[in-house]
Amino acid sequence: MPVVAMTVNGKPASADVEARMLLVQFIREQLGLTGTHVGCDTSQCGACVVHVDGRAVKSCTMLATQAEGAEILTIEGLAPDGDLHPVQKAFREHHGLQCGFCTPGMIMTAVDMIRRKPDLDEETVREELEGNICRCTGYHNIVKAILAASQEMR
């Protein structure tokens, strides 16, 4: 079995894995970081979004071995000191979640989009959320939360 080594939330992580192990399985089952969710498991819903070398990707559509040597950031690593990240805070303040299942992916996608596009407007946020599905909120408050966080982080 291949040995894979990467950095997850700033800490080294390595294991013998089956070649067919997905990154999301590595994160959840090997490392026990269950904040990253598996929703559709068909690359559509975005609940599994994490950052790989600073870019949002769907961890259900990447092999663990593909992440060899990479820096991974999951929802658990976003605010390591216990304070909430501005995007997390904004989701709470603006009620950007109901059941919460899609939230980790939404937040990781939001952090990535704010980094790439500091001057977000509503239309852009909605477009950038193409790959993240929420079945509770109707997106309205998610969009509000992301816009508020992007203002805050400017």
Partner: protein
């Protein structure tokens, strides 16, 4: 997923050697098509050879009258490239409209055209822009490359290295997205360049991407949306599924062609 061996070659030459040696190998680039396929157990390769990280396949170069893009260049890189935006804004916009941000962070040009999904975007750009597809074995003209649904001229052991896109004088791509998958229900790429005028359609045809010579001739006489407005395609040979009938797709081709010519200016 079935079991497979995973290989990560350090160079294109190593990748070729691994391909030649393995029983039933499959290349992996961004994995945005192959991994879902493996998960559904629709493929059972003995070896997965990961060329996604090969630096020698990840580049964008503007030289002379063309842009060369390495096969492992990601959609997001093409969309954001200053060179592509300057010389071929229609291509940059096309890449920026593929799937969603996470898909664009992984998916590659080479993977998209090798896969030749009948609803994929890049095949329309290649065909409409008279692109040259360079492989480890030869040069293939876009006109000769796309052979039908999920079929290309690629042979076993052949790897796409780069695609050359000559600069167009005018070009635009208009895509009517499937609202769920973001793939093209119908996408039309129109262009004017040293190759003349081309109109390429994706999403609509049962055999994948195709050119519409009647529209090309009409635009040669009169480059305006009106010129294509009266060119109607037959429903025969069009895709039909729960998202739209063959008649609907045939109709959309004309609508998208008109919009594309208008956008190309």
């Amino acid at each position: 997923m079935y079991q497979f061996n995973y290989e990560r070659p350090k160079s294109l030459a190593d990748a070729e050697a691994l391909l030649a040696k393995a029983d039933d190998p499959k290349l992996l680039a961004g994995g945005q098509t192959l991994i879902p396929t493996l998960k559904q157990r629709l493929a059972m390769p003995s070896d997965v050879i990961d060329i996604g990280g090969l630096k020698e396949l990840d580049f964008i170069r503007a030289e002379g009258d063309a842009i060369m893009i390495g096969a492992a260049t990601k959609h997001a890189t093409v969309a954001n490239s200053a060179d592509v935006r300057k010389h071929n804004p229609a291509l940059a916009a096309l890449a920026g409209g593929i799937g969603d941000p996470a898909v664009r962070h992984m998916g590659t040009l080479g993977g998209s055209i090798a896969n030749n999904d009948p609803a994929a975007d890049y095949p329309a750009a290649c065909l409409a822009l008279d692109a040259k597809i360079h492989t480890t074995k030869r040069l293939i003209e876009a006109d000769e490359f796309f052979k039908g649904m999920f079929e290309t001229a690629l042979q076993d052991g052949e790897i796409i290295r780069e695609v050359t896109f000559p600069h167009p004088e005018k070009a635009a791509y208009m895509k009517f997205r499937n609202p769920a998958s973001r793939y093209a229900m119908v996408g039309v790429f129109v262009s004017k360049g040293p190759w003349g005028i081309r109109v390429a359609v994706t999403g609509a045809g049962q055999n994948g991407v195709f050119r519409v010579s009647e529209m090309e001739e009409a635009l040669a006489k009169n480059w305006s949306p009106d010129a294509v407005a009266n060119v109607k395609l037959p429903a025969k040979g069009m895709n039909a599924d729960l998202h739209g009938s063959a008649e609907y797709r045939a109709h959309l081709v004309t609508v998208m062609a008109k919009r594309a010519v208008a956008a190309a200016g």
